[in-house]
């Protein structure tokens, strides 16, 4: 069902050094997982379990303490590899630039020809429904639209692996569903591999082909669930019985972990999943 391996985690751990007399923090791992070319992979888990660390290690924003991460067969070593685009949870739009200039930022930095910049930015803004707001400033847009600006800024660079770090975390439930549709459309049309980090089980169920359920810190995958959705899908699948079953199963796996993350330690540890 899945294509070639696009990105790979092999025995990856991430330990933050202790500062100011505090003990080191084992945030992640060991993690062994493969992301396949063109798949939509979501990671869910309790707060502070290392989901974002997982994404940042793959993006090259953090170095693993042990193990190896590869993207398209090449080791990821402390620099964001060409072909990876990242959309963050926080509003990362540039308030001093117009929507158009925001989207063009990366291309202009790379020295792309102005005609090509124009073509790609216009396409991306049209794709994200921002064509009529090209001359607006981010402050004149809603939170959802600002996040779309950030996605457009990533999209123009034509990434082959798109990393989404809780991009809809600050949005209301309805807007999140609609943004989910946009992301699915983007995923289908670009053919890119997508990794979504989210704390919302329903969001992961609706969007992903596979969902990695992560344990409380140090984050490890306790189960990887295949949703079995067709590639052509949208937010209407939330009404299907399977949707509830998958979400319920995820919660069943994560409830104990979430309690642990809250400081309750009376739950039995889950068995670790092997992919």
């Amino acid at each position: 069902m899945y294509g070639d391996i696009h990105a790979q985690f092999a025995g990856v751990t991430r330990v933050y050094a202790g500062t100011g007399g505090h003990s080191p923090v084992h945030a992640l791992g060991p993690i062994d997982v493969n992301l396949h070319k063109g798949e939509f992979f979501a990671v869910v888990g309790p707060s502070g379990c290392g989901k974002s660390t997982f994404l940042e290690v793959l993006a090259g924003l953090q170095q693993p303490t042990a193990g190896a991460v590869t993207f398209e067969g090449r080791a990821v070593t402390g620099e964001v590899p060409d072909g990876i685009g990242v959309v963050f949870q926080e509003d990362a739009s540039f308030p001093w630039l117009t929507v158009w200039d925001n989207a063009a930022f990366g291309l202009q930095r790379k020295g792309t020809a102005p005609s090509e910049v124009r073509r790609r930015v216009d396409d991306a803004l049209a794709f994200m429904g921002l064509k009529d707001f090209a001359r607006a400033y981010p402050s004149q847009l809603s939170g959802g639209m600002r996040q779309r600006v950030c996605i457009a800024r990533t999209l123009v660079l034509q990434p082959r692996l798109i990393l989404l770090d809780e991009p809809f975390g600050a949005l209301d439930a309805q807007t999140r569903l609609l943004m989910g549709d946009e992301v699915l459309r983007l995923w289908r049309q670009t053919g890119a591999t997508v990794l979504l980090i989210t704390h919302a089980l329903d969001e992961a169920t609706m969007l992903a082909d596979r969902i990695g359920a992560m344990s409380a810190r140090p984050g490890r995958f306790i189960e990887i669930i295949e949703t079995g959705w067709p590639r052509q899908r949208d937010s209407t699948i939330v009404a299907e019985p399977t949707f509830g079953e998958i979400t319920g199963r995820l919660w069943e796996r994560l409830r104990g972990e979430s309690l642990k993350a809250l400081g309750h330690s009376d739950m039995p540890p889950p068995a670790l999943a092997a992919e």
Binding site: E79, E90, A92, P95, W96, F105, Y137, P138, S139
Partner: protein
Amino acid sequence: MTRAGWIRLLVIAAMIGALELACRLDFIDHRVMIPPSEMATALVAILASGQLNDDIARTLGVIAIAVAMSVVLGFALGLLIHALPRLRGALDPFFATYYAVPVFIFYPVMIAIFGLSVIPIVLMGVATAIVAMIIATLNGLDRIPRVLTKVARVHRMGRFATALQLQLPAAAPYLFTGVKLSVSYAFIAVIAAEFILAPAGLGRAIANAYADFDNRRMYALMLFVLLIATVVNAGLHAWDLRWARRRGARPS
């Protein structure tokens, strides 16, 4: 103009009108204050005669130098202090209490060291304005969203490009607040220093008129200083407002 703006203008006009009437009807002694209309007439005459052109140019020049030095040095020192957290921890209490100290007490010392020239006046302007710029720079750097650093790394930007293309624009509103405050503080310090002791300048001209009981000249020059300060601040505020509207923020 907004409704609040019209009300503000009306209040100012009413106060000037009341002052005019109070002077004209001798509620205020003519030896103490002259009517605002006479101040304006005297100012026009002084400006038309050109007799104070050198003083005006000198004072505005000194203010410009003091502001430029405060902004450039204040920004550089702000960057340095921000990069050295221990130094910042040591200096923070000084910054917090700096404006509680009357730095003007050092003016005689500066005159003793540098003589009666523009140097002590420029230094007073810088001493008064620079800390506002340092504080604004630190504030601006503190408020750069951390996510921009990650965005910079995603775009594989070096330190210089990150600073110039992301961090500086992100901190710009706070830096601009520092510039605005530096202009105000430098203005006050330079005029006050000239008033206390200086060979020339607008402040000195006001002090001379005061010593000579020349009310028309003194009030005309005071009006001139007020008008310049108002125009400069209104210009800076308009610029700030324009930026703030773009960013959806309130002007500082």
